[in-house]
């Protein structure tokens, strides 16, 4: 599974420009699926099972897109001004390297500091793509870029850009691989534009019209020096989301996850995330409403070029999803 994670995290696909990662994911899932389709917003919708008898129509959502930058101006000397796609803090930008979807590479620099105690906002930074003038700059206004950072295998811990949410994508691909049979009609939906508007999950949920929605995404941790106060750590198992900044998980989905984990003896953690949200927020309000929840993979340094997860948590997340999808579900 590590090589899959490496392949997924070393692909560049910021929100709205997910075609490269979609091609990678499709190659993985096509041999395993009963049906594969791509919808109007670029969501990759993969069905497994027919939901005969007791089965439910279940939608899993893991987002393929990643945070990125978009060129807003190329100045006379070929320096590229930019704005962000998704939530990027200026602190993580200085010195970062980026790759444009068209292949151009660049490093991020900033204007002279008047005050070293104050971080530059984006409009005082620029991307240097090695051009000498606007004319020979390989980047045009509207071109999109993502962080460039190689995958790092530390053994138990894995570090990469775009673990958010390629690790969720990897968990879903691996679940599909390991899911021998299911009573359900399961839609593995690899969604687009989560980092900007949750637009992919919203429209995919309308199209799939599920009875149950579960997103698979990263969550923050409270296990670093003087970090956020949060009851989630790396290595203690996948996290069952109860609440985040945008949604309240359906208690029946929470119970289903916890029951499945306990009966299969899979470690898990209870998650209450104060900020941020995930695709479940959009799924929950699709059409006439969908009971939804989220299985989270704990992750340090989210929305930086070096996001860290624990390999054990990843494998346990797969085990839990396989356990959840292998048996009938009762939401009563």
């Amino acid at each position: 599974m590590k090589s899959l994670i490496q392949k997924l995290t070393e692909t560049f696909s910021p929100s709205g420009y997910e075609s490269a990662i979609r091609d990678v994911v499709r190659a993985e899932v096509e041999p395993l699926a009963d049906e594969v389709r791509v919808d109007a917003l670029g969501n990759l919708i993969v069905r497994k099972g027919n939901g005969s008898g007791q089965g439910r129509r279940i939608m899993l959502a893991g987002h393929m897109d990643e945070i990125g930058l978009i060129a807003s101006h190329v100045d006379e000397n070929g320096f590229v001004r930019f704005t962000t796609i998704g939530g990027i803090r200026p602190q993580v930008l200085h010195g970062a390297r980026v790759v444009f979807v068209n292949g151009a590479r660049g490093v991020i620099g900033g204007e002279r500091y008047e005050n070293w105690n104050q971080m530059h906002p984006y409009d005082k930074m620029f991307i240097d793509v090695g051009a000498a003038s606007a004319k020979d700059c390989p980047v045009r206004v509207g071109d999109v870029a993502a962080f460039e950072r190689a995958f790092l295998d530390m053994g138990d811990k894995l570090v990469a850009k775009s673990m958010d949410d390629r690790i969720g994508v990897a968990v879903m691909v691996e679940t599909l691989r390991q899911l021998k049979s299911t009573p359900h009609e399961v839609y593995f939906v690899f969604t687009t534009q989560e980092e900007v508007t949750l637009g992919g999950a919203a429209t995919a949920a309308f199209g799939v019209d599920p009875e149950i929605g579960v997103s698979v995404d990263v969550t923050a941790t409270g296990d670093t020096p003087k970090g956020e106060k949060m009851e989630v750590s790396l290595g203690k198992g996948p996290a069952v989301k109860i609440k985040d900044g945008g949604m309240l998980a359906d208690p029946r989905i929470v119970d289903w996850m916890i029951r499945s984990a306990e009966s299969a003896k899979i470690p898990y953690q209870r998650e209450v995330l104060l900020g941020g949200t995930t695709d479940a927020k959009a799924m929950q309000v699709a059409r006439a409403g969908v009971p939804a929840g989220c299985l989270s993979i704990p992750c340090r340094y989210i929305h930086s070029p070096s996001e860290m997860v624990e390999y054990n948590d990843v494998q346990n997340a797969v085990k839990l999803l396989v356990a959840m999808l292998s048996a009938p579900v009762s939401l009563d």
Binding site: L41, T83, G199
Partner: protein, 355 residues
Amino acid sequence: MPNTPKIGNTQLKLLEKLCNAVAVSGDEGEVRQIVLEELRPLADEIKVDALGNVLVTKNGGGANRLRVMLDAHIDEVGFMLVDDEKDGIFRFETVGSLDVRQLVGKQVLVGREHLPGVIGAKPIHLTTADERKKSIPLDSLRIDVGPGGGKVKVGDRAAFATRFRRVGPSIFAKAIDDRIGVATLIELVKNAPANVDVLAAFTVQEEVGLRGAKVAAHAFDPDLAIAIDSTPANDLPMHDGSENISYNTKLDHGPAIYVADAGTLGDPRLIRFLAETGDLNGIKYQFRQPGGGGTDAGAIHKARAGVPSVSVSVPGRYAHTAAGLSRLDDWKATLSLLHAALTRMTPELLAGERR
């Protein structure tokens, strides 16, 4: 270019009528009426939906027609009177995003009868040097309509009173955002090419949250959508001679194609198609600087199972103030680009996945 619709006196007169009409979000009847009058004779179907959108269908002919939703919002930013303090003095709130610093001293039209009013301010004779350094907060401003009549009531809306003027290559008016899009869309319906079905949505309540477009897109369920709007041109030179790097768009550079705004990331297939259309037909265009702001496309792309969408705007200076400024040539180029794009649209455009 095949049968490009012209912008002549008739079209200018219509734009003037549209800009001078008052249609603050939630009470768009005046502009709705103009749209209905213009398009009723030639629409295949025309109706007003539950929220007040005008939905017009103009079918093409032949096989394999894309169903193309074209959108322009009929509402404008303005004010609502919220407290009657007697003698014609009213406290008010803003409707849509307005810079409170720009309101002082402006004339307004109040209510459906367009009664004159003014957002008054203490004259310079009586202000102190300190007062003149500060902007006046909204809760200290009042609309003064004068006593008498009692025709003005709490809950009435008000809009800037600016009258439309054409000066050489430019137009000055209130509500260019988005009456210039409405005028463009009316011409596109009147000159709709036969290879597509045109689904024209003249939407309400864009300025307060894209509410009309959301339900219009659900009703039309189109194959793709283009929002036609007006976007700021912040293109004046910098006071210190440095390079202006945040102009958003520039006047005289043609229609602005959106790549990314706060509400959506345009469909790359449509962005490329519009740019190609411009290149093929020698119509100038520009890319709007990615960033904040947004159009009805922010709601349309999320309708039902998703709608490939893009926005095209006529650039204009001084948006959401009493007097906007746009260029006739940018308007003409916008109409030409959109018409040429419609004319060459086939299902091939969406045959491949979004990439």
